[in-house]
C-alpha cells in the first residue's frame, strides 16, 4: 500500500473526519472549484462517461409502490397477509410498469450518486485494484442499474 499521497493529517488527533472517498471526490471536483472555462480541456469522451444520465427515475407511481412495500415489510411478523404477497407483487408490478412506461424520466445526475450507491451496496468490494475494463463496463450499464430489478437484468 502506497503512502505517497496520503494526507499528512491522517495521523493527527482526529476526532473523526475522514479522507474523501471516490464518491465524494466525484461529487466535488467535477462540480465545484474554480472554473476558467476556456481552459477546461478534458476530453469530452472522458467526461461524458462521468456525467451520464445516471439515474432513471420511474415516476411517482413506482416510487409509491416501493414505499408501500417497504412499510408493509417492516412488521410482517405482526400482521402480514399469508401466502398472497408474491403473487400480488407480480400483478401490481406489472400493472405499475404499464402505467408508468410513458413516465420514464431520465434525470441528469452526477455519477457521484451512482458511485455512492455502489459504495453502500458493495462497500469493500469496490477495491482499488478492480479491473479497469469491468469498471467501464459497469459505468455504461449504470442507467439500467438504477432502474427496477427486472430492468436491471435486461442490460
Amino acid at each position: 500500500m502506497t503512502t505517497a499521497i496520503q494526507p499528512a493529517g491522517a495521523g493527527g488527533p482526529s476526532g473523526g473526519s475522514s479522507s474523501s472517498g471516490l464518491a465524494d471526490v466525484i461529487d466535488t471536483i467535477l462540480d465545484k472549484g474554480l472554473v476558467i472555462d476556456i481552459y477546461v480541456r478534458v476530453s469530452l469522451v472522458g467526461i461524458e462517461l462521468l456525467t451520464i444520465d445516471a439515474r432513471i427515475v420511474i415516476a411517482s407511481v413506482d416510487t409509491y409502490l416501493r414505499f408501500a412495500e417497504a412499510v408493509n415489510r417492516l412488521d410482517l411478523t405482526e400482521n402480514g397477509p399469508e401466502g398472497l404477497p408474491e403473487l400480488m407483487e407480480d400483478i401490481t408490478r406489472n400493472g405499475a410498469k404499464r402505467k408508468t412506461e410513458g413516465a420514464l424520466e431520465g434525470v441528469k445526475e452526477k455519477v457521484g450518486e451512482v458511485f455512492s450507491r455502489d459504495d453502500e451496496d458493495e462497500d469493500e468490494d469496490d477495491s482499488e485494484d478492480e479491473d479497469r475494463s469491468s469498471r467501464s463496463r459497469r459505468r455504461q450499464s449504470e442507467p439500467a442499474r438504477k432502474s427496477t430489478s427486472s430492468r436491471r437484468r435486461d442490460s
Binding site: 494526507p7 474523501s20 465545484k32 474554480l34 462521468l50 417497504a70
Partner: protein
C-alpha cells in the same frame, strides 16, 4: 504533453514533500507574480480514469494540510508552462490574490447526512397514527392497487418532510461550528443534507468535537459522514463567473 492544473496557491508556498499527481507525475509550482499554479505533466489526450480524479483530490488535500489553496475544478489542462500564466492572467491576478487571502487559515469540512430508510419509516409509523392506519388497511386488503399507491404516496410525502426537518435541525447545529456554511442541493435518495463548513485550520479539534456531539445525539434514522480537511471547493464555486456561492 499538457499540464494539469490542480489549483492556485500563494507564491510563498512550498510543498512540504514531493507530491505525485495524475499518472504519478511529480507536482510542481509555477510562479506567476504573487501566485503559483499547482501543476503536473499529463498527456492531455488521455482518457480520464478514476485514479485521475482521485489524484486531483489527493494533491489538493495534501496541500491544504498546511497551506491555503484555491482548488480548480477538475479538467483545467493547458498546453505548456506559458499557458499557465495565461490562466492566472485571465482569471485576474488581483482577484485570485484577494480570493486566496479570504481563505487564509481556513479549510473546508464536508458533512453529509443520510437517512436509513427502514429506521425513518419506523419513525414515521410510530409518530403518525394515520400512516399506521393506512398501512393496516393496505395489509388487510392487499389486492388493492390503489390503497398501495395511496399508502406509498403518503409515505413519500412524509419521508420528504422528515428529511427536510432533519436537515434544518442539523443545519442549525452545524452553523455554530463554522465561520461559513453552504448547503449543496440534495437530489432525492437517502441523502438528507450535504453541507460544507468553512473552519479555522487551527480550530479543527473543536469542530471534530462538535461533530462528535452531534453524532452522539443523532436519532437512529440518521448517519453522518464527515470529510476533510478539504480545500474550499464549495466556497469558490462559481466565484469567477460572478455567481453567488449559494447555488
Amino acid at each position: 504533453m499538457g499540464l494539469h492544473v490542480y489549483g492556485v496557491v500563494s507564491a510563498a508556498t512550498t510543498l512540504q514533500r514531493v507530491l505525485h499527481g495524475r499518472g504519478e507525475a511529480p507536482v510542481s509550482l509555477v510562479v506567476y507574480g504573487d501566485l503559483a499554479a499547482v501543476v503536473s505533466e499529463v498527456d492531455s489526450a488521455a482518457r480520464i480514469r478514476r485514479d485521475d480524479l482521485l489524484a486531483h483530490a489527493r494533491v489538493l488535500e495534501a496541500i491544504v494540510d498546511d497551506s491555503t489553496v484555491l482548488p480548480m475544478r477538475f479538467g483545467v489542462i493547458v498546453e505548456d508552462y506559458d499557458e499557465v500564466a495565461d490562466i492566472i492572467h485571465s482569471a485576474g491576478e488581483g482577484r485570485l490574490t484577494t480570493l486566496l487571502g479570504s481563505f487564509d487559515g481556513l479549510v473546508q469540512l464536508t458533512v453529509k447526512a443520510y437517512h436509513d430508510q427502514d429506521q425513518a419509516l419506523r419513525h414515521l409509523l410510530r409518530e403518525r397514527p394515520e400512516l399506521r392506519e393506512l398501512r393496516d388497511q393496505t395489509a388487510a386488503a392487499p389486492s388493492s392497487y390503489h390503497s398501495k399507491i395511496k399508502l406509498g404516496e403518503a409515505i413519500a410525502a412524509n419521508l420528504d418532510a422528515l428529511a427536510s426537518a432533519d436537515a434544518s435541525l442539523l443545519y442549525a447545529q452545524l452553523s455554530g461550528l463554522a465561520e461559513r456554511i453552504v448547503l449543496d442541493e440534495v437530489s432525492g435518495g437517502h441523502k438528507v443534507l450535504d453541507a460544507a463548513l468553512l473552519v479555522q485550520r487551527d480550530a479543527r479539534a473543536q469542530t471534530d468535537e462538535g461533530i462528535a456531539q452531534i453524532r452522539h445525539t443523532l436519532p437512529d434514522r440518521l448517519s453522518l459522514r464527515y470529510i476533510g480537511p478539504l480545500p474550499p471547493y464549495s466556497f469558490v464555486d462559481g466565484q469567477l463567473a460572478g455567481e453567488p456561492a449559494w447555488g
